[in-house]
């Protein structure tokens, strides 16, 4: 421990620590190729050689989506914290505090609005770095608010899903986010506004079993794990090895669950195009 750790309060220390990844080399989990972190970031966290899609932080995702990188961050609605007074190895409230410091976000869903190929859109991005992107009350409330905002402003609604599923620490309040978000999806449908789901790695459990599978269009990023039950649970239940590529985007495409698998580099164009087509907007001027 150096003198900094004795003097600087923990919150600031974590900010100092966050600077370090810039000097790091990142190994591609598929090809083993080493990539300089900065290069990876510049390539939207896709390994240049192998095309492997690493997880991209929600903020970086939003930065890369809108025209000229310009967008408005929408506030996250407040939600009751820790209704169960939950504690596993540590207190849930402490855990939340840690993640808020670490990610700088209120919870696992970020909301934004702005122009995508000159068309106004409302966007939600789930952040896997925040407690596995898990669906708790705050995340559910943000999704509901985002969908309602899209209805109010008559914009398409795009969501990038990334979640292990339910927020265990909130028990049944977490499960209730499935019907709650499903009700909000109905509002989009009634308003005849496009609801586009972009499934990213991973999208599983209660998230897949609610709003993630109710889109007008389902677009998946290459190689993403998308499913209901976890692979480990299935293996334990049936005591068999799972087939190659099981629950991956391409497998879902083959089985009719997604419309297309789109590499991250083409995501912006694809989303812009389908939104404009569904909104009957002409080809963008520029």
């Amino acid at each position: 421990m150096n003198w900094i750790s004795n003097v600087v309060p923990p919150k600031i220390r974590s900010i100092l620590k966050r600077e370090t990844p810039e000097n790091l080399w990142v190994k591609c989990p598929e090809s083993g190729e080493l990539v300089f972190h900065k290069d990876l970031e510049a390539n939207l966290f896709v390994v240049p050689g192998s095309g492997y899609h690493m997880r991209i932080p929600a903020k970086a995702r939003l930065d890369a989506l809108f025209d000229d990188g310009v967008y408005e961050s929408l506030p996250s609605p407040e939600a009751p914290a820790d209704p169960l007074k939950f504690r596993d190895v540590k207190r849930y409230t402490d855990r939340l505090k840690d993640y808020r410091t670490k990610t700088g976000a209120y919870d696992a869903v970020r909301l934004a609005a702005g122009a995508l190929q000159e068309l106004q859109v409302t966007v939600a991005a789930q952040d896997f770095d925040f407690l596995g992107g898990s669906l708790g009350m705050a995340a559910g409330e943000a999704i509901v608010a985002g969908m309602m905002r899209a209805v109010e402003h008559r914009t398409p609604f795009i969501i990038f899903t990334a979640s292990g599923g339910a927020r265990m620490q909130e028990g049944m309040f977490s499960l209730m986010q499935m019907p709650r978000t499903t009700v909000a999806v109905q509002r989009l449908k009634e308003a005849k506004l496009p609801y586009i789901v972009v499934l990213t790695n991973p999208t599983t459990g209660g998230v897949t079993a609610s709003y993630a599978m109710l889109g007008d269009l389902h677009i998946a990023e290459p190689g993403a794990v998308i499913g209901f039950a976890g692979a480990r649970v299935i293996e334990q239940t049936i005591r068999e090895r799972l087939p190659e590529g099981f629950q991956r985007s391409e497998y879902l495409l083959q089985h009719g669950m997604v419309d297309m698998v789109v590499p991250r580099a083409q995501m912006r164009d694809t989303l812009g195009r389908v939104c404009r087509l569904l909104m009957k907007a002409p080809v963008p001027a520029s």
């Binding site: 939600a79 009751p80 209704p83 169960l84 939950f86 504690r87 596993d88 190895v89 009350m137 509901v144 339910a166 265990m168 620490q169 909130e170 028990g171 049944m172 309040f173 977490s174 499960l175 209730m176 499935m178 019907p179 709650r180 499903t182 009700v183 909000a184 999806v185 109905q186 459990g205 209660g206 897949t208 079993a209 609610s210 709003y211 993630a212 599978m213 109710l214 499913g227 209901f228 039950a229 976890g230 649970v233 299935i234 239940t237 049936i238 068999e240 799972l242 087939p243 099981f246 629950q247 089985h255 009719g256 669950m257």
Partner: protein
């Protein structure tokens, strides 16, 4: 022959002594034994009542899974006249983990949807232990849409450890099937009432429980993931299921307090399995009064009520 749960051991011992004494009193009619017997019976009854008045969440989990607890088929037999089962999702297969059908509930035409776990090895296999596959949820959607079109209320009975986790279920879109079933229940233009009669396991339960009124039997549980699965996620140790059941607030009483469910149906002393008939009658009464509340509602009103109810969960009440 009653089968006892581990924690019922003191009651089991008392009741065994009652039985012994009764057998003895039938042989020789000694007045002393009669008095003794009455005393012991009272003691056993009190022990049972005391035990069940203070069940822990883990004990409730065990009661909810009790092998002799009345199942979906029992509720249908006891409550639904002219029951006419309907099979198949019209897409792939028939899934017997979910029983669907039409029938009369206290004179009124209704649609019924319920999960059935089975009661012996053969029927458990037939019903896949109540673990529903995509076909089952799609059959439920079909029946909900049918009910909607003909203006029939939907009564559902929830009893599953969870949706089936298997390769073929994933292949055929288990997640999508659950999402669509939840959606179909939420947009239903006729009243729907769900009763958790045993285990309400996660999304697999929710698929048939996004209803105007959600009831739970007194000793049933409703969970975001089964206590075993929760323990393995939270502590990486499924043997801590007991801790998970306690900390995750899975009982009817907790969920009523949280405003997540709408009512609790009392069970006979000692649990539903001690008097299935009385339990089924109580559930019938509760379902009837729940449906009566919506008798005058228009389809729009019944839908709006349900959707607002779910949107309101967790807002300001916690």
């Amino acid at each position: 022959m009653a089968s006892y749960l581990d924690f019922e051991k003191p009651v089991a011992e008392l009741e065994a002594r009652v039985e012994d004494l009764r057998a003895l009193s039938e042989k020789k009619d000694s007045p002393n034994i009669g008095e003794e017997l009455a005393k012991l019976e009272a003691k056993a009854a009190k022990a049972l009542a005391d035990l069940y008045a203070a069940l822990t969440p883990w004990q409730k989990t065990q009661v909810a899974r009790h092998p002799q607890r009345p199942h979906c088929v029992d509720y249908i037999a006891g409550l639904i006249e002219d029951f006419t089962p309907l099979a198949g999702d019209r897409k792939f297969a028939e899934d017997e983990a979910i029983i669907c059908g039409l029938g009369r509930f206290r004179g009124q035409s209704v649609a019924v949807i319920g999960q059935e776990k089975g009661f012996d090895t053969a029927s458990r296999l037939k019903h896949n232990f109540g673990m529903v596959k995509p076909e089952g949820y799609r059959k439920a959607v079909r029946v909900m849409e049918l009910a909607d079109r003909f203006g029939l209320p939907v009564i559902s009975f929830v009893d599953t450890a969870g949706a089936f986790p298997g390769i073929e279920a994933e292949e055929r879109g288990q997640a999508e099937a659950i999402a669509r079933a939840t959606e179909a229940a939420l947009v239903q233009g006729t009243p729907n009432v769900a009763t958790v009669i045993g285990e309400g396991g996660s999304g697999g339960a929710l698929g048939i429980a996004a209803c105007n009124v959600v009831l739970m039997l007194e000793h049933s549980i409703y969970t975001v993931a089964s206590p075993e699965a929760s323990a393995s996620i939270l502590w990486r140790d499924s043997s801590r299921a007991q801790d998970a059941a306690t900390s995750m607030k899975v009982t009817a009483q907790d969920l009523m307090k949280f405003g997540i469910i709408d009512g609790i149906v009392a069970e006979p002393v000692g649990g539903a399995h001690r008097d299935p008939e009385a339990t089924i009658r109580s559930v019938g009464d509760a379902v009837a009064s729940a449906l009566a509340r919506f008798a005058e509602f228009s389809p729009e009103a019944v839908r709006a009520f349900r959707q607002e109810k779910f949107l309101g969960i967790g807002r300001g009440k916690v």
